[in-house]
């Protein structure tokens, strides 16, 4: 090899310099391929969706591409907020369409930098019908405020278009095991004796979720706090204006601890902490049943069905849910929802067309047909009885409230989720945990 190399000498120089030019020419010429820019035939979309969600999205896109000839390039990118933040800072290309940021400060910042485009201009004439068709809680700030960064409203303009929703805090059960009626209050729920229905324990729980471990527990406490101390406290708490050690939040933690006590959860607390949320509901369908109830969002039905292919579980006949029972009747009607949004980062004709299409009932009906999620539009038809009822809950909610952790600064969210794991493991550490959370809260919102 060495000899060959050495003999090449002068010829190599010529060849080498030649190829250098060639590389430069090729890379600058052939590199672009489907990027940003004001394309009329291509749209780049980043989404966090994968698997069945991604398939459903492609199903939604198919008629659009057929009709308009616009090609949509979809990339699953779970790091999109960071990537877009970098792109904005560096002034480089952004995707045409991607979810908006969750951090309120970031929403305002991106709007002020012109990175986010207002739906009022993007949707044009169809903006009004988008607002009137979509769940009001997702398009209208409470009390008509001009700023609500949680749903992308800044200065009275909308920057996030809602396309999908999930309802959280539903109590799932196996219809063959739990034959009673839905409890009226949270206390009634806790008072149910599982042995009466031949189940080992009252609840199933699974808080493990890799890097996001603890979020299933946070959903549970969110649903308690918003119904126990109300939406005002809940929202202020998300914004860092209510301390964790405040009586309301502490009460929430204590109520949560009653729910997930060693006696109440299947297999004891170590099982709840070690079990992935996706298979947490498995004991519902074992015989004898491991537990009576699992609290989880609408999307969990897909997990039930995939884990027991042989049982061929049918929504509404084999399993069902009841809505989260009332904690303090004063705050009935507060519902915890999760929604996916699209925000537009490049104002191109093709991207506008796609945004307009996604805001229509025609497009969103395809999600509803594929199952596993609710659309953001009120009037969709669901063949799945479970989703039909979930849609009713979302539609009749007085306040559709966001998931707390998702809208806290990341280090706050992480500390919040992990505090729930810690108190589940060691209920005695509650006060220490809350004091620590106060500290994180003071530090993480500060320089925002």
């Amino acid at each position: 090899m060495a000899e060959v190399l050495a003999r090449l000498s002068s010829r190599a120089i010529a060849l080498g310099l030649g190829t250098l030019l060639l590389v430069a020419a090729c890379s600058s010429g052939g590199g672009g391929g489907g990027g940003g820019g004001a394309s009329t035939t291509d749209v780049t979309v980043w989404t966090a969706w994968g698997g069945a969600e991604l398939k459903a999205f492609r199903d939604v896109l198919a008629p659009f591409t057929q009709k308009t000839g616009i090609k949509v390039h979809v990339t699953t990118n779970r790091d999109s907020t960071n990537q877009i933040a970098n792109g904005i800072a560096a002034g480089t290309d952004l995707p045409d369409i991607a979810p908006g940021p969750t951090d309120p400060v970031q929403v305002k910042d991106w709007v002020s930098k012109g990175a986010l485009k207002p739906l009022e201009t993007v949707l044009g004439a169809s903006f009004q019908s988008y607002v009137s068709n979509t769940y009001p809680a997702l398009t209208t700030a409470p009390g008509g405020a001009s700023d609500d960064p949680y749903i992308g409203i800044i200065g009275g303009k909308h920057y996030e278009m809602m396309v999908k929703t999930q309802v959280k805090g539903l109590i799932w059960y196996n219809k063959k095991v739990f034959t009673g009626t839905a409890p009226k209050s949270f206390d009634d729920l806790l008072a149910i004796n599982p042995k009466q229905y031949n189940a080992q324990s009252l609840f199933c729980a699974g808080f493990e979720s890799g890097a996001a471990s603890g979020w299933p527990a946070s959903d549970q406490i969110d649903n308690i706090i918003m119904r126990q101390s109300g939406d005002q406290v809940y929202t202020n708490w998300i914004q860092g204006k209510v301390k964790f050690s405040s009586p309301e939040i502490k009460l929430g933690y204590e109520t949560f601890l009653k729910e997930v006590s060693d006696q109440n959860v299947f297999g004891g607390r170590n099982t709840a902490l070690s079990t992935n949320f996706g298979k947490a509901g498995d004991p519902l369908f074992k015989s004898p049943a491991g537990c009576l109830f699992l609290e989880q969002a609408t999307f969990i039905t897909a997990f039930f069905q995939q884990d027991f292919p042989s049982l061929n579980l049918k929504a509404g006949t084999d399993f069902d849910f009841f809505a989260h029972p009332s904690v303090n009747s004063q705050f009935d009607g507060n519902v915890n929802g999760f929604y996916d949004n699209f925000a537009m980062y490049n104002d191109t004709p093709a991207a506008r067309q796609l945004m307009q299409y996604m805001s229509t009932a025609d497009a969103q009906q395809i999600w509803a047909n594929d199952g596993g999620t609710l659309g953001a539009i009120k009037s969709l038809n669901y063949t799945d009885p479970v989703f039909k009822r979930a849609a009713d809950i979302a539609g009749s909610a007085k306040n559709l409230l966001v998931t707390a952790g998702d809208f806290m600064p990341n280090d706050m969210q992480k500390a919040f989720w992990q505090s729930l794991l810690n108190v589940t493991r060691d209920p005695g550490s509650l006060n220490a945990q809350l004091a620590h959370l106060d500290q994180v809260q003071a530090a993480s919102y500060k320089s925002a």
Binding site: M1, A2, A48, A90, P95, G278, F299
Partner: protein, 300 residues
Amino acid sequence: MSAEVTTRRESAVSRGVTWVDNLGYRLQRLPLHIVIIIICAVWIIPTVGMVINSFRSIGDMNSAGWWTTLFPPHGFTLASYQQVLAIEEVPTSILYSILITIPATVIQLTIATMGAYAFAWMRFPGRNLFFIVIVGLMVVPIQMTLIPVLQIFKFLHVNGTILSVWLAHSGYGLPFEVFLLRNYLGGLPREIFESAEVDGAGHSVRFLRIAVPMTVPAIASLTIFVFLGIWNDLLVALAFLGVSAFRPFTVVITGLVTSQGGGWQYLTAAAVLQMALPLAVFIFLQRYFVRGITSGSVKG
């Protein structure tokens, strides 16, 4: 493979030992084999578990350990693999991964070898300072560098091109490679270089005909890790190719899992597919890991 071992054994035999001595020799070596086999077993069990699980359904994985599949009823299924291969983009994404990985590997190893040679065999002011800075920067996470590098790429008009990831990977990989290769090149005996210099060989000849050939085992082992680092990368690909049409395999397989974490079981099959090529590269490069290459090239 290991020429050294065979010659050692042959010499033991040729010393005129009887079969009893031979047996004694084997027995004496028994603990060695046992230790090696135990370590290897511990090391492969987790991976074996995953490979077996890649042929199982999620229901089975959740309700029983992977080893239960070894006994009837096995319940093997190709569902995970079908799921991965059903993604239209998989073949092109593998091609893109290769198109990203191979040039990036070649570029950085070539540059690193040259740089390491300078650090090992030339004295110049600031040499140690440069070295400390370059190598010390290995500790800085890539995330911190993304914005400035994006700005530089924008200035060079290479954003979103495949060239940008080649350059980025080369930049991020170089410190480690220079560090490692400097050690190897620095360890080569001075006499060889001196005698070459006496023979009138310039630095280019010494580098190409002595330094590079003698460092082949090191370069070969480094190649694997460089290759792997790029092959498994997700961050750099998303940061520099996110809005382009190039989607390497790592990006495409994230689409297997739902945003709620459903479908993680398919990642077992994806992981098996993903590790196949680097493993093949490793097995191929093993031929360069044998004793004798360095001494051979000195004589030749």
